[in-house]
Symmetry: C2
Subunit: 314 residues, 2 copies
């Protein structure tokens, strides 16, 4: 295999790296995305950064292709960004073909949640596994599944939206219009919302001594024994575990890998999550699926984007 | 292609048929399973019936192989029945190799829920679809999924158990030990249980004028406007639709096909189910998945069993 350019496209900043087949990043750069300057401008600056990386690395002749991990809905066959909340005017934008025109390199695109699980498949602790589920837990919940060695994308390319499985039928309203989606009760956003909602009952919670309340604030409070922290963390972990239990019954995976901002809660999260998932897995499935955190934390986005190429050319 | 023997193994009776590649049944027989006589006896009588069918049909030289649809947990690689509630002493029973020894024909085994969706894939209204979900709703809920043309069986062969996805977190206890599994609220068993539970509040319901209360009794009552019938049917359809909505978000299938005893409720069930599923599917998935009832009702079990062979030799 050769080298690959991975582009981790984000609403605020975009990371671009030169990655080898072992997931080693040989060179990288971060640029502000500056969506407001218009999409052609964004593309031109990304292309410019790619040229700089290729020049410095002096590896141009070995570069195989480019992989782009994009937020939102993409069409992997035409290489278009169909719709992304982060890029309001990018509807049906042929991002891959424009990057290809600028660089002369074959370019693949995938949504960032699928790029996450492909990164795990290509470079992570469980690399090469044919049955893996990936969840990225941050502002929302992204998901990607490899089953029988195949990235599950479905009939129209819309699979897998595990963040919009209902885990609390009468739970909080989700951005998608349903009540109690996994994303509405087990994302970082949900954790912070719960803290504000419970404030009147627990005004003296350690959570409110922080200037800015983030998911980490709440999880740290739970870890140190704060009562409200424990209540919110328990609701979060219970919903997440019930969801994951269902995904295990659905896909019978070898491993469920959790990434995204919330996964930085580390061992405390993992220990509690494993115990709770075990409660929601039926006897015949006991011990069949590992639950783990991503170990690709640094530059996971670039690695995930690069892995799209390794997957497509497998 | 040639002809195939399909064996629909049941707790009470076993159906055996000679099936062509279009799903046409050329010859068939039904024998009592008589589990109590011991497994060797069951196998010998099944083998005997196969010989009779082959003799009558005079087609032996064209018969490709045998497919067995079995209840319970099976190992498709070794051809064993691992465990089946219907056959208590069949633990790790090498059913396929024994049938093979008796008949000289290659023999494949699959659980009956997977055989159901393979039957749809081979012979149903949506035959050849690469993205289908099958649910058989009867005493329990069986499920099978074809995604990207592949029967999803998972890392250990245990996928897909959609009947054990939790749709009512504080709902009735399921046989698996969890609360509110789809099977615990949306099977025929659940419908009948609800009727008994609600009896004190609705003693005059039309449901209780039947000598024996079955799921059909309750659904017929709902259809004719009986209040309790409507309450139970609404709870059933809501849970089922919420489940199916989640499966659509998971697999992005072309079609979800419902079979099993409850599907005999026909158009009344289908109309209500379609409306309710639509409520639980998010905007980007609207209209992506058809919901339909199986059209293989007659001898569906034999056809499903035969389709295992056509799938394995595809």
């Amino acid at each position: 295999m050769g080298l690959v350019i991975g582009i981790d496209l984000g609403g605020t900043e975009t990371k671009i790296g030169l990655v080898d087949e072992h997931g080693k990043i040989l060179n990288k750069t971060t640029i502000p995305t500056l969506v407001s300057r218009g999409r052609e401008d964004v593309v031109a600056r990304i292309a410019n950064s790619i040229h700089n990386i290729l020049d410095i690395a002096n590896e141009k002749d070995k570069v195989l292709a480019i992989g782009i991990g994009s937020p939102g809905s993409i069409d992997r066959d035409s290489g278009k960004v169909l719709f992304s909340p982060n890029f309001p005017d990018w509807r049906d934008f042929p991002l891959a073909s424009m990057i290809r025109k600028h660089t002369g390199l074959e370019t693949f695109i995938e949504n960032d949640a699928n790029a996450f699980i492909l990164g795990e498949w290509a470079f992570g602790k469980y690399k090469g596994s044919k049955h893996m589920i990936g969840l990225t837990i941050g502002t929302g919940i992204g998901s990607g599944v490899i089953s029988h060695g195949q990235l599950i994308t479905g009939h129209n390319g819309y699979a897998v939206e595990l963040g919009h499985i209902i885990v609390e039928p009468n739970g909080p309203l989700c951005g998608c219009g349903s009540h109690g989606c996994l994303e509405a009760v087990a994302s970082a956003t949900a954790i912070v919302r719960f803290a504000h909602e419970y404030r009147k009952r627990f005004p003296d919670s350690a959570i409110f001594s922080s200037e800015k309340i983030e998911a980490k604030t709440v999880i740290d409070a739970a870890k140190s024994g704060d009562e409200l922290g424990k209540i919110i963390f328990d609701r979060f972990i219970d919903a997440l575990a019930r969801g994951i239990g269902g995904f295990i019954h659905t896909f019978n995976p070898e491993v469920v890998i959790v990434g995204g901002g919330v996964s930085k809660a580390g061992d405390f999260l993992l220990k509690n999550l494993r115990e709770r998932v075990d409660r929601y897995v039926m006897t015949s499935f006991k011990g069949t699926a590992k639950v783990d955190l991503s170990d690709l934390v640094e530059d996971a986005g670039i690695k995930g984007a690069a892995s799209i190429v390794f997957y497509r050319k497998r």
